[in-house]
Symmetry: C2
Subunit: 349 residues, 2 copies
């Protein structure tokens, strides 16, 4: 979680709007599923006792609220969008942990590790459907006084369905990549664009969609979120190799140890030559020693993979900011979107 004093003020505002609606939404789940969801969100422990914590970083709700404000609407209109995107994001976390066999998330055992694969699959499914119900009937599901009209709600629901489909396709590509010896840069970007870019694009556009903004303004906001997602992912890839173990909570060169073919690795392989060949051979080595992992990190860096990922992050952040650089957007909200983007990226470096 972000310490409040460091984060841009919009995070606090978004939390105030979206957090109660998230509780209302999750409260709609049946008694068999609700405790599992509350555990996942960090609101309760595995025995159902309230923790008083949880809720994640809140980047997506902040973008959804700003996206309504950027087109001159009241933040309230964006609430169902923020809730829906947050539900889809968490559906994907719960299912991805099943798919990847990951046993820990946010320093706690994952849902499937705690409640079993069956309940993790069911509760993920339930959150995904809930995300649709929230957008298709915001007044009924969230008991809000002011909601978008039916046509805007339908377009918002279609937008989140399309983004979710892209996200799932990205995850399917990621799983397929694990079987491949190497991955090229284009494939890597397609995968990351789906897994991370699509839903962040939706988060940044859905408030404007709910507000009934013209489609080209909605598309520009989507582009902002998509590019921000790819910038974030490039930074995440850098941290996965060169991140400080004390800050990431993972061992040094973590992604290389687990043979993850991320952007820096793909860029290094694309450089060709003896270094790339040695790197490819190490990627194909099932069990790696510390010396071998350190050698891989050095090879990726020598072949320009680290520099390429750093440039990618900067370029994508720039593209995100260009996308919303338009007089159509309310200046204050535009400035806050830029602030969120810089904060998300810089915090990670």
């Amino acid at each position: 979680m972000i310490p409040t004093e460091q984060a841009p003020p919009v995070f606090g505002r978004a939390r105030e709007f979206v957090a109660p609606a998230m509780r209302t939404a999750v409260g709609r789940l049946s008694a068999e599923m609700r405790p599992v969801a509350e555990y996942h969100f960090g609101w309760a422990d595995a025995d159902g006792r309230a923790t008083g914590g949880g809720g994640g970083k809140g980047v997506r709700p902040a973008l959804a609220i700003l996206s309504a404000e950027a087109v001159g609407a009241d933040a309230v209109i964006g609430i169902p969008g923020g809730v829906s995107v947050e539900l889809v994001h968490n559906f994907s976390l719960i299912h991805d942990d099943v798919i990847d066999g990951d046993v820990e998330r946010r320093h706690r055992p994952t849902v499937w590790a705690t409640f079993g694969i069956g309940r993790a699959v069911i509760v993920g499914d339930a959150l995904l459907v809930l995300a649709q119900q929230i957008l298709l009937d915001p007044a009924g599901t969230l008991q809000l006084d002011r909601v978008a009209d039916g046509d805007a709600s339908r377009r918002a629901a279609a937008r989140i369905a399309d983004s979710t489909a892209a996200m799932i396709a990205g995850q399917a590509l990621d799983v397929a990549f694990e079987m491949l010896p190497t991955v090229d840069v284009a494939g890597c970007l397609a995968m990351e664009g789906g897994k991370t870019g699509a839903l962040l694009g939706c988060a940044a556009a859905i408030g404007a969609e709910l507000a009934g903004a013209p489609s080209e303004h909605v598309a520009a906001l989507d582009r902002f979120g998509y590019e921000l997602g790819l910038a974030f992912q490039a930074v995440d890839d850098l941290l996965g190799i060169w991140g400080d173990p004390a800050r990431t909570g993972k061992p040094a060169w973590s992604d290389l140890r687990s043979h993850k073919k991320t952007f820096p690795v793909a860029a290094a392989l694309a450089a060709g030559g003896a270094g790339a060949a040695e790197l490819a051979a190490l990627l194909a080595t099932p069990s790696l020693s510390d010396v071998q992992v350190a050698r891989m990190a050095a090879l990726v860096e020598q072949a320009g993979g680290r520099e390429a990922a750093t440039e990618e992050a900067t370029r994508r952040l720039g593209a995100a900011l260009v996308a919303i650089d338009s007089p159509f957007f309310v200046a204050a909200a535009q400035a806050e979107l830029a602030e969120v983007a810089r904060f998300v990226i810089e915090r990670e470096f």
Copy 2:
């Protein structure tokens, strides 16, 4: 699959309308997921070779088409509804097999047994989202000339989301029941209403919803499908105990062997007395001999469980037919709905 000469003609008509649209819909999945879905539908084998078969019984598409016709609309309007309901049904089959650990379906290895749990989870997710995309943008996704207007599409999408949520809650209840020593009749009906009734109700109503029919007519059709679902489930529960192994493809007393607490068992337990106590003790016995399983079947029958389930099937079928007994519905379609209902139930006996 139903031999065409026995089935009511609407099955063939529905197949003609919905089967090509199903292929178009599944064709939208990415290259990593499409072969897994095509295997599940029986269109291809595990190596991706076309089988020329598959497609399931087609009850849901038939109901969706008739539901449009029943309110005086063209069957074409119901196509996206038929596709969407069929996609949700198949999402649930793929995930339920993961959740229940079932290795065989329709005489073939299940998706997770063939492609692994990860891919089964992902492809199920993708079908669920596809079902929403089809309803929210029928023209774009299915390339149909004539589709429902935006408002009807939104209501249809909300309807299928609500039914899917009820179905998932029913599945969660079913999983929870496995942990309990016994289950009461009300709990059993709540579970079956969710697992089977909700989506059949949606199938029988969604064509009318897409056609923009008045809400009370849509609700009556939903009630028809819901009651039919519970009738079907009561018959299925009877077959799960007393079905002919040569016809069901399962061993005799199959559900009792696997300790399933279905309606006949719940009804027998509710009768109380020494028989119910003996039945409860056998239900709590981890590994059952053939003699013990035969004894359970006799106990359920003696306590009236078989008769109660038979009566339940008849009563629910009657309630289904009453629900659509209204001059508002087009007589020919109404007659065909009744024909489908009787066929679905009688075929199973």
